[in-house]
């Protein structure tokens, strides 16, 4: 370590003290807003003790956002872990997936701009999602075979190539999909309601829980695929030692192509979920590229567990900082929530540059 021992201990104490303070602040220290004024303890809802329901809701919002983050970022992480390709077009695949599914759903329901969820059957959501996944899977396969196969190992060059592709896709989306204006998918009718959560005593949106469920389902499926099948075994071997794996007579190119397709499909599926939960709009490609980057930098590159941990941390910090930063004046302080994300990132980089679950080197 470059830090001297006492300095190291002092910085550890500062970090863990800081984390403990933040937890205490949210759980007990914060106060609800008074009629006038306020101080550093004033937040929107006060602490968890003051308003248990708002706390639970914020927690669930963070978890459901983490579910969506995981769907997108796990694809990014899979591609990077196996091929060392930083797919800068991952956000573009997300956006393209959302728009393709939107167009298909519009076509199927024959409706105009917005569709009432009551008129959408499960099939009218699942088929657009499948079409989007297959389309983007093919796009991903083409990108990998045409642009990334012949220059393996040239990491920066590959990153540049995917940046160029993302520039082209972003412009083509504006040209061909809804002028790049925000487009929303509609969830199937049966999901569009609040359900009362047992024990917690609050009503919560079923679609948000569905997002969380989908995130967990993707996680379990990926885990089963990577750790319980032969293909998964080959992929893990490829992550560890590419050359040795291919020397054993395994067609590593086939595995690369497969992993890139799965990664792209996950981006597209994330786009479909994102478009259903909110909307997709031109410009979100950068936002989702950033989200994926932050998640994998925090969690560790190429690790499934890391992607899950990174999604959880980022989702929770994002959700809580928007609500639990002090609100003492007109301009303070919830607008600074973006800085909290940055602090999280900087802390991880400073203390564990390889990410929470990444391997050194």
């Amino acid at each position: 370590m470059t830090l001297h021992r006492p300095l190291q201990i002092a910085s550890r104490v500062a970090v863990f003290g800081g984390i403990a303070f933040v937890l205490l602040y949210v759980l007990v220290i914060a106060d609800p807003s008074p009629e006038v004024g306020g101080n550093w303890r004033t937040t929107n809802f006060g602490s968890a003790l003051d308003d248990w329901q708002s706390f639970t809701r914020t927690l669930l919002n963070g978890l459901t956002f983490a579910g969506l983050l995981f769907i997108v970022a796990s694809g990014f992480s899979l591609i990077f872990g196996l091929m060392r390709v930083v797919n800068m077009a991952h956000g573009s695949f997300y956006l393209l997936g959302g728009y393709v599914a939107y167009e298909v759903q519009q076509e199927m329901t024959g409706e105009g701009f917005s569709i009432a969820s009551i008129e959408v059957s499960t099939w009218e959501w699942v088929l657009p999602a499948l079409v989007a996944a297959v389309t983007i899977g093919i796009v991903g396969l083409l990108v990998q075979q045409v642009f990334l196969r012949w220059n393996q190992g040239q990491e920066l060059r590959q990153a540049m190539i995917t940046i160029a592709i993302s520039v082209i896709i972003a412009d083509q989306i504006i040209a061909h999909f809804n002028d790049g204006i925000a487009a929303s998918m509609t969830w199937p009718g049966w999901t569009d309601r609040l359900i009362e959560l047992p024990l917690l005593g609050i009503d919560y949106s079923l679609t948000r829980l569905l997002v969380l469920f989908l995130g967990v389902a993707v996680g379990v499926a990926l885990w089963a695929w990577l750790y319980r099948t032969r293909t998964g075994m080959v992929i893990r071997a490829g992550v560890d030692d590419r050359q040795m794996t291919s020397a054993l007579g395994i067609n590593i190119q086939l595995v690369f192509a497969l992993a890139f397709v799965i990664g792209s499909v996950l981006a597209a599926f994330g786009g479909v979920v994102g478009a259903s939960q909110g909307a997709v709009a031109s410009g979100q490609d950068g936002q989702w590229l950033l989200n994926s980057l932050v998640v994998v930098i925090i969690g560790g590159m190429g690790s499934l567990l890391g992607a899950a941990a990174g999604s959880l941390l980022y989702g929770l910090v994002f959700s809580f900082s928007a609500v639990y930063l002090p609100t003492t004046g007109d301009n303070c302080c919830t607008q600074y929530s973006i800085i909290v994300t940055f602090v999280l990132l900087a802390l991880v980089l400073a203390f564990r540059p390889q990410g929470l679950f990444g391997r050194a080197g």
């Binding site: 470059t2 060392r84 930083v86 642009f147 190992g153 040239q154 990491e155 920066l156 060059r157 990153a159 540049m160 190539i161 940046i163 160029a164 592709i165 993302s166 520039v167 082209i168 972003a170 412009d171 083509q172 504006i174 040209a175 061909h176 950068g286 936002q287 590229l289 950033l290 980057l293 932050v294 930098i297 590159m301 301009n331 607008q335 600074y336 929530s337 973006i338 800085i339 994300t341 940055f342 990132l345 900087a346 980089l349 400073a350 540059p353």
Partner: protein
């Protein structure tokens, strides 16, 4: 042929001096649009691109944070000197504002560099990209210092020698030109100092340099700080020139555009910065709504300038990853081989991004 120089160097010097003379008498040759828009913008975008190329060619770090840094300089200056409107509008003396904007940006560059310096290559690219996007969000969200619509009227508060009258475009043209030349000379100078030499050692053999007793992260951090200083100069010039800066200026689009500028010019040589800026800006101005975009529409591809520049970018990265300067190097190399000479030792990192 000047003593001790190859033919190629002589030719390059001649081209460089010729271009310099040409732009030095620019106001006599070019119309207002070329002078005030295309060339001034080329100089200042070139400065920002030079900071990116310096890091890439001599530090082995491709940074996507340079636009964010020049934005930080621009926003800082805007907050300090303007007297009304958005932001803090402190109304301080323009000179004080310039000095503080450069100093603050350089300091922020030091902090960001210290965090990023432990990683290299692709990780560095990703971390600096998150810097870029976070800076963009920060200025978009935090209404105290900017907010969505940004800060305007900064050109009205430029120091006297730039001024805000009908003569100021020509004066700003010369200011940008002089700063660009000084930046170029400064980078050349820094590369010959012991720091510059050990930085290139760190680029090529970080492990060996570390075992020789050099602090690798410190070299990277200082290189990043120096690049932040250069980027801050571009930021100050940008807000004098544009008068206004908003978060969209330093968004992902702007970040990628600067990378495209640097890649078109060539990530291996500083000169490429201004060449790339010039090519990018000319294409941006003349291809928009030209026969080419109409042709794309006709064949059903559609899209605008961005599709075209994206394809150009893609082709350059595939065909000549070290950009136009690299293509020039290979062209002169072919020329020399025909003459029976031998290949000279490669200029520092001309292999650029082609290197693994």
């Amino acid at each position: 042929m000047i003593l001790g120089m190859t033919t190629k160097q002589t030719v390059e010097r001649a081209i460089g001096m010729g271009a310099l003379v040409l732009v030095a008498i620019g106001p006599a040759l070019f119309d207002d649009y070329w002078l005030g828009f295309i060339l001034t913008q080329t100089f200042l975008i070139g400065i920002a691109a030079a900071s990116l190329i310096f890091l890439s060619a001599y530090g082995g770090m491709v940074s996507l944070a340079q636009v964010a840094l020049y934005g930080i300089a621009g926003f800082t200056l805007g907050n300090m000197v303007t007297t009304e409107g958005k932001g803090l509008h402190l109304g301080w003396d323009p000179w004080l504002g310039v000095v503080l904007a450069i100093a603050i940006t350089t300091f922020i560059g030091f902090v960001l560099g210290a965090v990023a310096s432990r990683s290299a290559g692709i990780y560095f690219l990703m971390i600096t990209l998150t810097y870029a996007v976070i800076a963009n969000y920060f200025f978009g969200q935090v209404t105290v210092v900017s907010g969505f619509s940004g800060i305007s009227g900064i050109d009205l508060r430029a120091p006297g020698f730039v001024g805000a009258d009908e003569e100021s475009p020509v004066r700003l043209y010369y200011v940008a030109l002089v700063v660009a030349v000084l930046v170029y000379l400064l980078i050349r100078f820094v590369l010959r100092t012991p720091f510059g030499l050990s930085l290139q050692g760190v680029r090529d053999e970080p492990v060996r340099m570390a075992s020789l007793g050099y602090t690798v992260p410190m070299h990277r951090t200082l290189a990043f700080t120096f690049a932040a200083f250069i980027a801050s100069l571009a930021g100050v010039l940008y807000v004098w020139w544009n008068g206004q800066i908003d978060p969209a200026t330093i968004g992902l689009q702007g970040t990628i555009d600067l990378l495209i500028v640097a890649v078109i010019g060539g990530l291996g040589r500083i000169e490429g910065a201004w060449l790339g800026a010039f090519v990018f800006i000319v294409i941006n101005n003349y291809v928009r709504d030209s026969w080419l975009t109409r042709f794309l529409d006709d064949v059903g591809i559609g899209g605008s300038f961005n599709t075209i520049i994206g394809v150009i970018f893609l082709v350059i990265v595939i065909v000549s990853p070290d950009g136009l300067m690299g293509a020039w190097g290979r062209f002169t190399g072919v020329f020399r081989r025909r003459g029976g000479g031998t290949e000279p030792p490669s200029e520092a990192a001309v292999e650029g991004i082609g290197r693994t």
